[in-house]
């Protein structure tokens, strides 16, 4: 899963802070120690504890992943179907995230700026937010049936809250002197909102979008557990029934990697925005 900490307060690593920790190479080597130990335990100790079905060997998993990603598309299950799954999941993530963002940002701005909108919407948002996203699954199935619409619904719901809440915070915590300065420079209230309050809240909006995208990945998996045919989450669930633990583990690793990858462009955008900022 993508890291969720806001980028403007990225703490310096302990090594940098205390001036210890040696070269870049040393640090990478130290970071590799634990994964290596786990890999060794998995290879040599796990066979004594688990059956090869419960936990297949690393080599078996790599082989499974290789077939899943690069194998020929010859109709054999899990042979070369990664691209199809990825495409199906990606469509759902993008669709759900877009809905969540297109509703979440305007709602967040409205609640942040208008006391009326806050009085109207905030209690409702607070109430709905306390219902865990998973609880929506049965109702989503009744409303939208098994398949993509249910998944998109769950994803938009999951991404809506972090996006809306972060936007609200962003608008509420705008430095009041910025608005005052704009007003004494001759801006009307409306001009101050458009030219100062909106740009000042962009960093929090972007942070909310970043969180929303991370949540979209989580809810994508959940949404695909509703029994769709294609998709990373669907294949993950099906792999158990097909008795393919190697594919389960491959998919877990792949989904994690994709979460990190999808965060990169958003982070880049954030860094660009924050570069012009005092923080």
């Amino acid at each position: 899963m993508a890291a969720l900490d806001p980028p403007q307060r990225q703490p310096r690593s302990a090594a940098v802070r205390w001036g210890i920790g040696g070269s870049r190479f040393t640090r990478i080597a130290v970071g590799a120690v634990l994964p290596l130990i786990i890999l060794l335990l998995w290879q040599f100790w796990a066979p004594h504890v688990f059956t090869s079905f419960q936990l297949p060997s690393p080599a078996k998993v790599v082989e499974g992943a290789n077939t899943y990603i690069f194998g020929p598309r010859n109709g054999v299950q899990y042979s070369g179907t990664f691209v199809t799954d990825l495409w199906a999941s990606l469509q759902r993530v993008i669709g759900g995230f877009l809905v969540g963002a297109l509703v979440g940002v305007p709602v967040g701005l409205a609640v942040g700026f208008s006391r009326m909108a806050a009085a109207l919407l905030e209690p409702m948002i607070g109430l709905l937010r306390s219902v865990p996203g998973i609880c929506w699954l049965p109702l989503a199935l009744i409303w939208f049936g098994f398949g993509t619409p249910s998944a998109v619904f769950l994803i938009s719901l999951g991404s809506f809250f972090p996006i809306a809440l972060s936007t609200i915070q962003g608008v509420r915590f705008i430095e009041p002197n910025l608005i005052r300065a704009a007003r004494t420079l001759g801006a009307s209230t409306l001009q101050a909102v458009r030219t100062v309050a909106l740009p000042a809240s962009i960093p929090s909006v972007l942070n909310g979008l970043r969180l929303g995208l991370a949540y979209s990945w989580i809810y994508m998996i959940l949404g695909e557990f509703t029994g769709v045919n294609e998709g990373l989450g669907a294949s993950l669930l099906l792999a158990r029934e097909s008795l393919r633990p190697d594919i389960i583990i491959s998919l877990m690793v792949l989904i994690g990697l994709l979460g990190v990858l999808s965060d990169a462009p958003v982070q880049w955008l954030l860094r660009r925005v924050f570069r012009t900022d005092v923080r």
Binding site: R180, R183, R275
Partner: protein, 259 residues
């Protein structure tokens, strides 16, 4: 000559939202400021100096009393009453030039004209060559220069300055005081400058007003009879030292707890 700005029995009370405690920042303050005068207000912290400026700027109306500007009651902010904040409040997402363009642009001046004006003002505060820098790329002193330039670009009749050098280190502070003295030679508007630094007040002002401890009232009102153009050299002169003694005295008296 009638005053450009008049504070007429201005009181300001703040009510704490939770404890309902009422704090009186200003108590029936009367003060008149003539056109083109540079008035420095000094007083102990918390005496309502900033409240005075907010009332004049129209961003924080007084509880009772009125502020008059050019014969009309102040009811809200206006570009003819510019304000420089202690933290500068420059817009971090705009470059120095764009920051200075903000006032003229928002009032409907064309982009070309506004840019020309902004370049001129930035040059006047010594920031030529930094037009395309973002605030975070500038030092604290330079950011404050941008804030001053941004207000001056509007050519306000009244410039309100709320401890504009209060957050700067001593060296930068001296540089900016010199700069303000130089700018003063070409900008002839009225200035109301709040500070807690007595030397700064006498160096910059045509007139020094001392406020008492909260609730603030005027306890001393002096004309600074030092020739302009001034430099920090005047701080050695007898006139300066005499005024400084008087202000110190007033401040000491003003800080006494009065029942």
């Amino acid at each position: 000559m009638s005053d450009l700005v008049r504070f007429d029995g201005v009181s300001k009370e703040f009510t704490d939202a939770r404890s309902k405690n009422v704090t009186k920042a200003l108590d029936r303050l009367d003060l008149g400021i003539a056109e083109s005068q540079f008035v420095c207000v000094v007083g102990p912290s918390g005496c309502g100096k900033s409240t005075l400026l907010s009332a004049a700027a129209g961003i924080e109306p007084p509880t009772t009393g009125k502020v008059w500007f050019d014969g009309e009651a102040v009811t809200g902010p206006h570009h003819s009453r510019g304000m420089v904040f202690q933290d500068g409040a420059v817009f971090p997402w705009l470059t120095a030039l764009e920051n200075v363009c903000y006032g003229p642009t928002v009032r409907g001046m064309g982009k070309k004209e506004a840019t020309a004006k902004a370049r001129e003002v930035l040059a006047a505060v010594g920031l030529s060559g930094f037009e395309s820098h973002y605030p975070r790329q500038l030092s604290g002193g330079m950011r404050q220069r941008v804030a001053i330039a941004r207000s001056l670009a509007n050519e306000p009749r009244l410039l309100l300055m709320d401890e504009p050098f209060g957050a700067l280190d001593a060296q930068t502070r001296l540089t900016l005081q010199d700069l303000l003295l130089r700018v003063r030679e070409s900008y002839r508007g009225t200035v109301l400058f709040v500070t807690h630094d007595v030397d700064e007040a006498i160096l910059l002002g045509d007139r020094v007003v001392v406020l008492s401890r909260r609730p603030g009232r005027v306890v001393l009102d002096l004309i600074v009879d030092l020739p302009r153009p001034r430099t920090s050299e005047v701080e050695m002169e007898e006139t300066f030292l005499t005024i400084k003694r008087q202000v110190r005295e007033a401040l000491r008296g003003g800080t006494e707890v009065t029942a």
